[in-house]
Amino acid sequence: MRNKVAPILNLVENSDKLKPLTNRRPVAALPFGCRYRLIDFPFSSLTGIEVPSAALFISGSGHSLYDHIRSGSTWGLESRVGGGVFTHSHINLKAELEGTELYTGNYYDDHYHFVSRSNAEYVLLMGSNMLSNVQLDSLMRFHLKKESDVTVVYKKIKRGEVRKDSIHTSLSMSESDSERIVGFNSIADLTDTENALLLNMEIMILDKETFLKLLYKARKQQKDVTVKNLIQFSLDDDKTIFGYEYTGYLKVIEDISSYFQANMDMLNEDNFNALFYRANPVLTKPKNSAPTYYGEQSEINNAQFANDCEVYGKVQNAVIFRKVSIAEGAQVENSIIMQDSCIEEDVYLNHVILDKHVYVKKGARLEGTIENPIVVAKDSIIYAEGDIEKGE
């Protein structure tokens, strides 16, 4: 399989509803599950088809993301005999520049060069906001077996699993062949009566030649190179598009609530095993660490921790990242505590998301709800009196 696929990760993803967590980082760099970032999941999927290189397109500087990816060697994306991570920062997509003069830089050229210079025969497009663990080797086999021009990954979900005004799309299948995609709709346009839908997971595989043709169309019409647009171009050209059904764990990370829920989902063993143990091993940037210490008085009930924590308090239904300290008498419930945060004595946190490096002073109390967890921005300090000194 090696060297057959050229993956393009479109990480220019809408992050407005994830603020303040996305104030300074793209969706792909969002911390998840004690020790990961969302980008780890597509990258780990890629290890299943042994790709030697990948191209990334991102809107900001990508600092937090590149710091995590480094050379890409964790996922086998670094080799002295070709390959590597090709990064393209400061990409502005048309959708975000409405009304202003369109600047695309070398957007189309960058896609063209990455694909045309690659020895690969196929192109794979994916993003990072569909938290999942897709077996791409199986997708590839399906694509070949169906002799499909284009194959798109989807999952059957309930209407309520995504936002009502979701920016994502639902696929419609042919009446004669339930695997053949004949159209799509914006989820926001669906009527409430439709209970189930086939979510377009925005993962697409197609051969190099077809991709280059579709890319040419995108450039000509000045449209973004997204799975949605490429499906439309393929339909316009009467290409055969097959849908590959994914049945593993999926969460669309589109707002704070879905982000919170995805983390909490991992505390359920079925979800945890489905995401981490049923498909590709999930790899992340290796970090040096000491084991986590649980003190004499600590009381833990259904919680996950990364290494390097020191826990003396009570933790229930919570996801705790690296280097977090929780003092005696503190109580953390239904919360996500990111790296380097410090929770002093007698603090009470319930339905709270602490971004990195938040300091919660002795006796402080924060209580959100499951629909509206309280999000505390990076580097903030929370005082017992309820004052919050904002970080970023």
Binding site: R35, A290, P291, G295, A306
Partner: protein, 381 residues
């Protein structure tokens, strides 16, 4: 820039006093403290001391050890101006190069050291738990204009007869060496850490090889030979935590001490980190039925039982209603349900089936070996 110092970590020892724990792996590769192998301490000391050229001399059961050390990248030792190199015995025109002793192991690797052409060679053992700045010892070696400096540690007088003991004069110059003496004249124990001027040591080793091949061990042969020739040998006194974990008892003890959050080793010190080959695994999952106190747990663990005053290395599974106390569980061990483990060391990848009890006594520590299976259905009749 010329290489000033090369460190040689002698990691070939079998560690036979660790019994079944070293049946499949060399002692320096034995897991320690949840996230480490014993050799990590010496390797991290080299990295933190700015010694970037490190030879790791292996011999006995080297596969896991070699795999663990790799090219030294995890310790930052894969630099353009330095590297970690695994040195294994090999055969050559002069015959097989298996190592007959610590000094002989260095003799066999003269080519490796000469290739780096260093001024000094630091000889280290791969089986001690400690944090030490070798650079400070090297500065001392230069100040004293020594040809050999020996790292020593004051030990309680009653224990001194278990060590190689250095008698020094008022200037800390070593005047006598006693190997495990009945009546020690000093309580300065050798830590097995030596700094030699390379050209001088090489001459001794080469001359001995040509003559009578007597210099095979540093403690038994090289130091006495240096003393006979009135070389400038100085003692460098180390104060701090240092533990030889060569026995089941000391390995268990060192791990139990390691649990103390106030431990002198200060494993969470960001300025002097102990690096290791960290596995890429899932977070620690403590379920509703888990109960954990005064314990260290590592990534990849799944805990549904009760853990008290114990260290669980990475990727250990503990089933419901199981109880683990005062024990050290090595990586990838699987412990079923209703298991009781007390005062024990459970080897890497061991499988303890449901309902088994493994309980040490006041004077013995129970040990389950590498990949060993205890309990469960047996196919044998």
């Amino acid at each position: 820039m010329k290489t000033e110092t090369v460190a040689m970590i002698l990691a070939g020892g079998q560690g036979s006093r660790l019994g079944k724990l070293t049946k499949q792996i060399a002692k320096p590769a034995v897991p320690f403290g949840g996230n480490y192998r014993i050799i990590d301490f010496a390797l991290s000391n080299c990295a933190n001391s700015g010694i970037n050229d490190v030879g790791v001399v292996t011999q006995y059961q080297p596969l896991i050890l070699n795999n663990h050390v790799g090219n030294g990248a995890n310790w930052g030792l894969n630099r353009h101006d330095g590297e970690a190199t695994i040195l294994q015995p090999y055969s050559s025109m002069e015959g097989e190069k298996f190592f007959k002793g610590t000094a002989h192991a260095v003799f066999q690797n003269i080519d490796f050291i000469d290739n780096k052409d260093p001024e000094y060679v630091v000889i280290l053992s791969g089986d001690h738990i400690y944090k030490m700045d070798y650079q400070k010892m090297l500065d001392y070696h230069k100040e004293q204009e020594a040809t050999l400096t020996v790292g020593v540690m004051p030990v309680p007088w009653e224990d001194a007869s278990r060590f190689g003991v250095m008698n020094t004069d008022k200037t800390d110059r070593i005047v006598e060496f006693q190997e495990k003496p009945e009546n020690p004249k000093s309580n300065l124990a050798s830590m097995g850490i030596y700094i030699f001027n390379w050209s001088r040591l090489k001459k001794y080793l080469v001359d001995s090889q040509a003559k009578d091949r007597q210099l095979t061990d540093f403690g038994h042969h090289v130091i006495p030979a240096y003393l006979r020739n009135n070389e400038a040998i100085y003692a460098y006194s180390f104060e701090g935590y240092w533990k030889d974990v060569g026995t089941i008892e000391s390995l268990w003890n060192a791990n139990m001490e390691f649990l103390d959050p106030e431990h002198e080793l200060n494993i969470r010190d960001r300025k002097w980190r102990v690096y290791s080959n960290n596995p890429n695994t899932t977070p620690q999952f403590l379920t509703e039925s888990a109960n954990v106190s005064n314990s260290m747990i590592t990534d990849g663990c799944y805990i549904a039982g009760e853990i008290e005053h114990s260290i669980l290395s990475h990727s250990v599974k503990v089933g419901k209603n199981s109880y683990i106390k005062n024990s050290f569980i090595m990586p990838n061990a699987v412990i079923g349900e209703n298991v009781k483990i007390e005062k024990a060391i459970i080897g890497e990848g061991a499988h303890i089936h449901d309902g088994v009890e493994i309980i040490g006594t006041s004077d013995t520590i129970e040990v389950v070996g590498y990949d060993e299976e205890v309990g469960g259905y047996s196919d044998e009749k």
